[in-house]
Symmetry: C2
DNA sequence: CACAATAATGATAATGATTATCATTATTAA
DNA sequence: TTAATAATGATAATCATTATCATTATTGTG
């Protein structure tokens, strides 16, 4: 197993993700980090997103379109707006759902992810 | 707006999806339906999956890899096995999570999807 | 400090999943 | 039965993501 070496690109990707509360795609992150490190490559962004996710430092949110990423790993839930396709945080207790797991389930559950679909406050206001 | 015309390909895709309880990819469905309609094209499978989903007859499950599909639309939850990458049904009351929605949320929620991650019974037995 | 080992990078080619195109075929309503 | 048009199969195109590879940066050691 190879040992991690630090890189300013990886630091910048993580810092960007931790500084924002939307849920950007790899492309979004690429564009943002490029303001700070103009030479950064999209491949490096993808590489580091994968690495950071496997380290447990960020979350990947599959959406059916481009994956989105979240720099805040404490349990919380999301809403996907079916109008603007954006993903926002919701303020709900993350515990409730796990309590509902049936006792007789033969597998092992290690985590869960809850996605709500609907209209986000911004889109609701605008329409 | 164009009016739907029936096709045996679309019927076969829907029938296949409704007859099974795994959560196949478009490719899986293509291979299965080809046993019945050897001339069917993968493009036709994708086309009809999209159409059936927009009609609300099937569910698309984003996974971060290939999308998976579900022919049973009554509310229920899934477990993604982090070992075999399969998706199985879980037997939990779908109501609990919606009750947890905060009252002061300014948007509108129309549906939700809960994905558990862990080891499925088959993989747990085998290892 | 100098250096060797190797992880990380940027550029870009390759892949895999999904969608678009287009000529042909099938379904439908009149 | 026919005209209108939705659906198909074949395949090209697109989009997101990953792999490759030569070069650069980081790190531990003498």
């Amino acid at each position: 197993m190879s040992t991690l070496k630090s890189s300013k690109q990886r630091d910048a990707v993580l810092a960007n993700l931790q500084s924002r509360y939307d849920h950007p795609t790899a492309e979004d992150i690429f564009l943002a980090v490029r303001e700070v490190i103009p030479s950064i490559s999209l491949a490096t962004v993808y590489r580091n997103l994968k690495l950071l996710e496997s380290e447990g430092l960020i979350l990947k949110i599959p959406t059916g379109e481009s994956d989105r990423f979240d720099g805040h790993t404490q349990g919380h839930y999301h809403l996907t707006c079916i109008n603007c396709r954006g993903v926002i945080d919701l303020d709900i207790d993350p515990g409730v759902t796990l309590n509902a797991l049936p006792r007789d389930f033969d597998g092992t559950v290690t985590s869960h992810s809850l996605m709500f679909y609907g209209i986000c406050p911004d889109c609701k206001k605008t329409n």
